[in-house]
């Protein structure tokens, strides 16, 4: 064993290196006050290791990110713990970083030619905040999406360069899958690389300047080597931090809410370390908001950077530095107070607290729900297509529901990509019947683009019936029994017996089904313009095949629906006798959008 070590040493010089590292003299003796630096090195390693393993399953795409995180959280063994360690580890990193900074500050350890050491440390603080900001978006749940939306908008507020900065952050004009990609790359490649280099630099500067030692002179004569005295204390601290993180990760799995839904009215709240700034924002309306979002952080970090140059007195004892210490106390105390105040205000505000609780409830429900894998390549059905909304015999309310609501709120009333779940909704919010009726009519609100349209076309008694039914709805509409589709399935296969009649008409799932032995042969279909997909497909079907809205194929052949009519119709549907739920107009469509949609529609035969 020893000779092997010698053999390696002769070729690497490992003995000298380890002696140089381990025998570092600690002036004034080992102390628990010095453990934070090593703690941070450990956390960096822990974050790197857990992060690397998380990417084994994570997919940085807006379509799949959430599903892949849910898979890690719910299915992969140890996934919940590893994700928990990573998530709590991030918070721990910020806490310990602040502790490290406070210790250095109080001990005056930035003095005596340690300016660069200190400045590198402050840059690392910024980088860690960057880690927190970019990592927050990656799960792509409601919290992540809306939190990042607010965060990037704050960047957009900066005068002059703000807009460009925001676009660089987002990778475009909106929070999209491109944003996710660049946040991901920043989080896993750029920032770790930068941090690694800075850690090396920081340690180099530290060893060069030597440990500052205590601010008093009682132990000046005492010197202990780093190994084992300081290292033991460091390791003990690391061990405790690790245990705490592990217990947290096991007992309180890191939260994952439902997938981001840009159409929802999610009440965004920043993570705890940004709460003080968020609270300050409330006191500075309008343009003044720049003070807390941009001005204050800039002043704060400016001061931090310049600290060793501003405070040049050699005095290190905290009690003999009243200004410095009270400034720190003010900053820390103020942050804690602001954060607590923000929590308190949310807890006491009747609407916010109810909404936040409902959101938390939603996240909890999602965490409990079992994992549902995403269906990829669904356009090619594996089995004969299943009729999604079976005609429900007997219940009039369900018929109304399936005809009007199910497309957006889901066949089981558990919500869909465009609309929230209705199960327990009325109950939870203590809505009254008259409110629901009014809501359907659109009396209580002005339907915003993309929000729920008015349902004036419903008979008054139908509206009442739906409202009553919603009040009582406390479990999902029963999912279809597996044998039910067999009846439906028989229809297409029965048709398949007459092969001569098979024509490759567009549209219906049946056609796709029939030709899927060789799906590549499908006739080219003119792709719909993006504006159609975004604003019309919802009701008229992704290819204009009709849904709750009428079928649009060959629409231009109908009277009063020539392309020029359609262009006008889109600005004022009412003038063409259209009724609800087709919205009164589409102010969000540009002229170019309208032109593209109509052009596409006239090709749709």
């Amino acid at each position: 064993m020893a000779s092997l070590y010698d053999w390696i040493d002769e070729r690497t010089g490992v003995k000298r290196i380890s002696r140089a590292i381990l025998d570092e003299p600690i002036r004034g003796g080992a102390r628990f006050a010095y453990v934070f630096g090593s703690g941070l090195v450990f956390l960096f390693l822990l974050q790197a290791a857990t992060g690397i393993f998380l990417t084994m399953y994570y997919v940085p795409s807006a379509d799949h990110a959430h599903a892949s995180v849910a898979y890690i959280q719910k299915v992969v063994p140890m996934g919940s713990i590893i994700r928990g360690l990573h998530s709590y580890g991030a918070s721990a990193m910020i806490i310990i970083l602040v502790a490290h900074l406070v210790q250095t500050y109080l001990f005056g350890a930035y003095k005596q030619r340690r300016e660069l050491l200190w400045i590198v440390g402050i840059i690392m603080l910024l980088i860690v905040l960057g880690f927190a900001f970019t990592g927050y978006l990656l799960p792509w749940d409601q919290e992540a999406y809306f939190g990042t939306k607010v965060g990037t908008s704050v960047a957009g507020e900066v005068p002059v360069v703000g807009e460009v900065m925001q676009r660089i952050l987002l990778g475009g004009h909106d929070l999209t899958t491109l944003t996710l990609s660049r946040f991901f790359v920043t989080h896993i490649f750029l920032l770790p690389l930068a941090l690694l280099l800075l850690v090396v630099l920081h340690l180099y500067f530290f060893r060069r300047a030597g440990a500052a030692g205590p601010y008093h002179h009682r132990d000046d004569a005492k010197v202990e080597p780093f190994y084992p005295y300081q290292l033991f204390k460091d390791m003990l601290f690391i061990f405790i931090v690790f245990l705490v993180l592990l217990i947290l990760a096991v007992k309180f799995p890191a939260r994952l809410g439902p997938q981001a839904d840009p159409t929802s009215d999610y009440l965004a709240r920043p993570p705890w370390y940004f709460l003080p700034l968020f609270q300050l924002l409330k006191y500075f309306p309008g343009k003044l908001a720049l003070i807390p979002t941009v001005g204050l952080p800039m002043v704060l970090f400016g001061l931090l950077f310049l600290l060793p140059f501003i405070d040049r007195r050699p005095e290190r004892h905290p009690l003999r530095r009243p200004i410095a210490v009270s400034a720190l106390a003010l900053a820390l105390g103020g942050s804690v107070a602001l954060g607590a105040l923000s929590k308190y205000q949310d807890a006491t505000h009747p609407e916010f607290s109810a909404k936040l609780r409902a959101q938390e409830e939603e996240a909890r429900a999602f965490m409990k729900a079992s994992f549902v894998p995403q269906e990829i390549g669904r356009s090619i059905p594996v089995n004969p297509p299943i009729v999604k909304n079976p005609p429900v015999v007997g219940s009039r309310v369900l018929k109304i529901y399936f005809a009007n609501c199910a497309n957006c709120h889901g066949a089981d009333a558990m919500g869909g990509p465009m609309a929230p779940a209705l199960v327990k909704l009325a109950k939870h919010w203590r809505l009254t019947k008259s409110f629901l009726v009014d809501y359907l009519l659109g009396h209580t609100r002005e339907p915003a683009p993309g929000s729920m349209p008015r349902f004036k076309q419903l008979m008054p008694e139908d509206r009442e019936a739906i409202a009553e039914w919603l009040l009582a709805l406390d479990k999902p509409i029963r999912a279809m029994e597996p044998e039910a589709p067999a009846v439906a399935a028989a229809t297409p296969s029965a048709k398949a017996i007459e092969p001569k009649k098979r024509t490759t008409t567009l549209g219906g799932p049946r056609a796709i089904y029939r030709s899927h032995g060789a799906p590549l042969e499908q006739p080219a279909f003119p792709p719909p313009p993006a504006a159609f997909t975004a604003h019309c497909a919802f009701c008229h079907g992704p290819r204009g095949e009709g849904n709750i809205g009428p079928r649009l194929i060959s629409i231009t052949e109908k009277p009063n629906r020539r392309p020029e009519d359609l262009l006008k119709l889109l600005t004022d549907p009412r003038a063409y006798g259209l009724k609800d739920p087709m919205p009164a107009r589409f102010p969000q469509l540009s002229d170019e959008d309208r032109r593209q949609i109509v052009e596409w529609l006239s090709k749709l035969k």
Binding site: D23, P25, A67, H217, E375, V382
Partner: protein
């Protein structure tokens, strides 16, 4: 008085001097307290090892899990084509849609099959070569794999090349005039046909 100097060294004074002094005195200290030092060293080792151990178990379970996941072989019949459309005699290549477990998603992807129909007699082969998994092509007289030159007869018998066995047949049935198969993957490179997924 000397103390005073140590606390606030004048900028011109080199800190190295004091460092060297400390180095010697620490070496002195080490010799005096060797037993305590080895105890602390042991504790450090134990704590490091336990953290590494826990993380090792976590990472192993996390990353190895797909390799040891239990196979759920689904009894899905996949549609191929209306049986009357399949020409007699010559082999026909068709894509079938299969559903694969991709962890966070179910992937509906396509795989190729070869169908050989002779009147009432019909056989469906997987187009995956049993050697190393290339796609099998049809020739005038039978099948070959372009990768390493394996060859089979029309009836799937092995004729030559590195392939360990004949072409893999797939279970099929005709329902309401529609040919359906039960698509499977088979282990490559072994003489016997083993279903792996």
């Amino acid at each position: 008085m000397n103390q005073e100097q140590k606390v606030s060294p004048s900028p011109r004074r080199k800190p190295e001097t004091s460092k060297i002094e400390q180095g010697t005195s620490s070496a002195q200290a080490i010799r005096n307290i060797a037993p305590r030092r080895s105890f602390l060293g042991l504790m450090i080792g134990l704590m490091t090892a336990s953290i590494a151990g826990v993380m090792g178990v976590l990472f192993a379970g996390f990353s190895l899990f797909p390799a040891f996941k239990k196979l759920s072989v689904e009894r899905d019949w996949t549609d191929v084509a209306p049986v009357d459309d399949i020409p007699d005699g010559e082999p026909v290549k068709r894509a079938v849609v299969i559903s694969q477990d991709g962890g966070w998603g179910r992937f509906n992807t396509q795989q190729l099959v070869w169908i050989v129909k002779n009147g009432d007699h019909l056989v469906v082969y997987s187009a995956i070569c049993p050697h190393l998994g290339c796609t099998i092509n049809a020739t005038d007289s039978g099948f070959i794999c372009p990768c390493h030159g394996s060859a089979w007869a029309r009836d799937g018998r092995k004729l030559g090349g590195p392939t360990p066995r004949g072409m893999d047949t797939l279970e099929h049935r005709v329902k309401d005039g529609l040919l359906q198969v039960r698509y499977r993957f088979f282990r490559q490179g072994v003489p016997d046909k083993h279903v792996i997924a």
